[in-house]
């Protein structure tokens, strides 16, 4: 899909308006993709820095702007995720350490389970994770996610199915659920 391109008279002003209009929505998504709040803030900032580098590529219209920014944010997160592939290779060990750390910090069983569930999301590639988050937590319909990400509804369904399967495996491995 080709989106219309608008050359704004003042790109800085437009970027400020974009930031004000979309930063909260982007932060909510970023926080659910990134490991902590600081990383999520960095992720949002990096998204707008990419927008600052190529303002003419930002399409016009609030929904198109949002879709473009969401895609950029997911791409930025994906780049970070790939760079952290070494960490992923040691995921099991890291996961175990995190669980032990959580156990020391907060002995309550509920907190441990919560950390384990959220940690399990780390096995998902960022785009798949974003799709799971948008569908399960933001409760966006599949068609809306497809429009937002510029991919087909069938692909969204496939990512959801794979995401649920991967999450179930990760939770089973970690013992993060009580069933």
């Amino acid at each position: 899909m080709t989106l219309p391109v608008v050359a704004d008279a003042n790109p800085v002003e437009r970027l400020g308006r974009l930031f004000d209009a979309h930063h909260e929505r982007l932060y909510r998504l970023a926080r659910r993709l990134a490991p902590n709040a600081d990383d999520a803030l960095d992720l949002v900032q990096e998204t707008f820095l990419r927008a600052a580098k190529s303002p003419k590529r930002i399409p016009a219209g609030a929904s198109n702007e949002e879709a473009w920014l969401v895609r950029v944010l997911i791409n930025v997160r994906r780049d970070q995720w790939r760079r952290a592939s070494v960490r992923a290779r040691h995921q099991d060990a890291a996961f175990e350490n995190a669980r032990n750390e959580d156990t020391r910090r907060s002995p309550e069983a509920g907190l441990i389970a919560r950390a384990a569930v959220w940690q399990a999301l780390d096995v998902l590639p960022p785009r798949r994770r974003a799709i799971v988050v948008m569908h399960e937590l933001e409760e966006l319909p599949i068609q809306d996610i497809a429009s937002l990400l510029g991919i087909s509804a069938i692909t969204i369904r496939w990512h959801l199915a794979m995401g649920r399967r991967d999450l179930a495996r990760a939770l089973k491995t970690s013992g993060g659920t009580n069933s």
Partner: protein
Amino acid sequence: MNNLKELLRGADPLRHEPAPPPGQHAVRRQAVLAAAGRADVPASERPRSRRAFLATSTLMLAAILALGAIVWSVFNSNLRAAIRFEIRMAETNPAPGLQKAKVSDSGRYIYLHPEVVVSNNDIAAVEVVEAGGPSQYGISVKLNAAGAGKMRRATAAHIGKPLAILLDGQVIMAPVVRDSVGGAAMLTGHYTKAEAQRIADRIVKGIGMR
């Protein structure tokens, strides 16, 4: 396992963490706008380092080499896909010295004269054009000067009779000559657009083949 949605909601950090203080967003907004202000300087006014110039030159050279490789590849593939193209005069009735040939996809037979009037090297361009209706298409064959001369001479005495267009020795169409064909010929045959395009594509592929 518990319901996935409930599990994720229970673990969602947005439900358990305080929102970042407004100051955090303000600081980052400022950083973004400062970066945008720097990016807003026109490219022609920005200083260009020697390293950037070298990198650009290297990229351009690589792009030119890649483009050359693609063009060469396409050129080679076209040569491999080349089809022998011929136009010969034909008759509807048998006669001594004529070769009987079946017109593809029609069940009709014509009788070919032995002489090849024009071949691949006599064609300048080929295109599909509408021929008398939205669902009827013809093929416009533009001949080069040498081909036009040969066709004009051959068709002037052949009006009302078929000529045969052959691809790799197979008669793919045998339109009736409506007029003396010179530099450009409209070959009518009541073909669909897809059929005409298919034929035109095959002829185009044959241009340049000896």
